[in-house]
Symmetry: C2
Subunit: 158 residues, 2 copies
């Protein structure tokens, strides 16, 4: 089973539609659970300590929905990149080794706390470029879908 845990609700209707299209398509391959966690709001003149507190709270909320046996891939700008083929291999390698519950985590605007990084089994960087985390949701969903297409050797447009 694939679980996607993300901070914040997708606001743009159009982006929501695109993401749902991939969720729907993935449904024919795997059980999929998407959990959206409310972002913690910051006041305008937030200090560095305030931001740290937001990261701690959000990371704790994420950890609360992750069970101990889940294999966690955290999207992180300091993570490692993979090609789509490597990503597909990575996912199915976990399944082969009995890690059947994969959880992908997308943090909030300010990033995540170290406690969540420590829990993660892999830090994945989608791109050297920074994307809005709302678009990151779309990208990772498309890549998970692509991973299944690659594994099943099914044609998929580029």
């Amino acid at each position: 089973m694939i679980k996607v845990v993300a901070i914040g609700k997708i606001k743009e209707k159009a982006n929501k539609e695109l993401i749902h299209e991939y969720i729907k398509r993935l449904g024919s391959y795997t059980k999929l659970d998407v959990i959206e966690i409310d972002e913690v709001m910051l006041t305008k003149n937030a200090s560095a300590a305030d931001i740290d507190l937001v990261k701690q709270k959000e990371s704790q909320s994420i950890l609360n929905v992750i069970k101990s046996h889940e294999h966690v891939v955290l999207l992180d700008l300091k993570g490692k990149t993979m090609t789509s083929e490597q990503f597909s291999d990575y996912i199915f390698h976990q399944y082969t080794y009995g890690r059947s519950d994969l959880t992908f985590v997308i943090g909030g605007s300010y990033g995540v706390d170290q406690i969540l990084k420590d829990r993660a089994n892999y830090l994945l960087k989608l791109s050297d470029m920074t994307f809005p985390h709302q678009l990151a949701r779309l990208f990772i969903m498309e890549q998970i879908y692509r991973a299944y297409k690659i594994f099943n050797n099914e044609p998929y447009h580029k």
Copy 2:
């Protein structure tokens, strides 16, 4: 001025909406021209030679809308990656050196011909992962918008 030349029309209404949102926002910073070029259709049992021909035709159509003074950045899986900050620096570096017409090119599903690669001033890789070229349109548009926000030192959500 920024020009974006791409093969194929964006089919999904939702993706079109997201792209148009960035086009609209970019409008307050720069003149922007988006040129969509019809993709060349392939028959089901296309040979490698047929595919080469598609790439040649599409690349020629792209070259037809590029003037000789334009600085061309081609999205290419064999290109180099940049961070968003480097991408912003890159764009404004061109402006500084009088190259005021920047053209971004997104090829079709089969890639582009060598003749277009030779014309390109820079090959840019958005990610090690392969995305549908329809999503690549969205990604590059967001990054161009982000480049202007970074250059102008304006706040922008991650």
